[in-house]
Symmetry: C2
Subunit: 213 residues, 2 copies
DNA sequence: CCCGCTGTAATCAAACTTGACTACCTGCTT
DNA sequence: AAGCAGGTAGTCAAGTTTGATTACAGCGGG
């Protein structure tokens, strides 16, 4: 699974109704073009695909107030909302060491209630720990890890990343337990989207260092 | 860039001459199907593509000794070798927080000489540190990170990962400085491929825990 | 002897991703 | 008044990835 569907569903949902360019702009605002595959092509493709699959309804809109070709607005359906929460929960608990999935989920974690978020994150820690045990048990030869030579460094790297990920998750759990952030049903939600016309301080301006791949 | 080209080039190079299934088997032996997109389709596609681009030469082979359709053996060219080392150096120094690239490069790091490997890894640490500085400076609003709300956790996560990655790299540098592993030109290289007929202890047997996405 | 099972080897369609490109309008300049 | 820079909105072809499926050979049991 890639992060794009979760990102797009989440963006549309926060707006209630959004066209492609709005979604694209939100994702840029969140920095998603830096750490995920949220490029225009992928976004429009995801919108069309999910409309075809009944997660979004496409509304054709008259040639737009401000320039450009006729645009399509999308609205999330019941199926789409279910899919959204399924993806969100999955992304928070699963450990596939692709950081874009977790990043995307973090952006939406407050759509859950505080208690569920904590449960999912604790599950995440458990999953990472299990993964760690299984990997070390399964991949270390009986006659010691020296057998692996430098190949062992790959495993070493995975395990290090897993430990670091688990530690970070524990920190997040503490912050959430400590009352940080506003979760579902706790009053005025934090608004993470740009209103129509609001300027985007993090738009694709000067090149960011990450571009130096 | 994805890890697949580096993996495939490296595998072919170690064999001298290899057909798709051999490459596929090596990658499985290295656990690459767990942490990268090294699925059959991608491997065969990469072989064909790189043959078209002159990095590999394809030799049609008679219908094979042991079952299956006629197979094609691939041999790396001079261009392919250059590309291999370019990719390898890039993968060691770049920081794109996609762990599969680094993992792949780790598997081949001993194809460089010890001194160059150290230089590249030190460069990697520098790149990560620069990235960290740039990101924190660029993405933290003037009026403090609290402005970001829970969205700030995404950045927090990136930064934590970057720090962890830098720390791990420093550890690796120490181990290599301390004389670990056998690098290019230091005698008998470590053999990380399966000989024809050798059984693969890490083949796709029982499900690994990572499959629980 | 032939049927299904396993292992070897590769292909294919469908989905996804990428990066460049089109098209249109507004406002500012010359 | 022409033109062009810049913002808005989206499309497209080419390339890549995925997961399922095909094709063939050898082997063992009934």
């Amino acid at each position: 699974m890639s992060a794009i569907r979760l990102l797009v569903l989440g963006a549309v949902r926060q707006h209630g109704r959004a066209h492609g360019y709005q979604v694209r702009n939100d994702l840029e605002y969140w920095g998603a073009h830096e750490w995920s595959n949220a490029k225009p092509g992928s976004i429009y493709h995801a919108l069309k695909q999910m409309a075809k699959q009944g997660m979004l309804i496409a509304h054709e809109i008259a040639p737009s107030t401000a320039g450009g070709p006729p645009r399509t607005e999308y609205e999330i359906t019941e199926t789409g909302t279910q899919e959204y929460f399924t993806l969100l929960r999955e992304s928070l608990t699963s450990y596939d060491q692709k950081p874009d999935i977790l990043s995307a989920a973090l952006g939406f974690v407050v759509d859950l209630d505080r208690e569920e978020a904590l449960e999912l994150l604790e599950e995440r820690v458990r999953v990472i720990e299990e993964w760690r045990t299984a990997v070390t048990e399964h991949y270390v030869p009986e006659d010691g890890p020296e057998q692996l030579g430098h190949i062992g460094e790959i495993m070493n790297f995975w395990v290090h990343s897993a430990d670091s990920g688990a530690q970070w998750t524990r920190g997040l759990i503490q912050r959430i337990k400590g009352g940080a952030y506003t979760f579902a049903g706790e009053g005025e939600p934090f608004v993470g989207v740009l209103a129509e016309g609001e300027e985007n301080p993090y738009g694709t301006g000067e090149t960011h260092p990450e571009d130096a791949r």
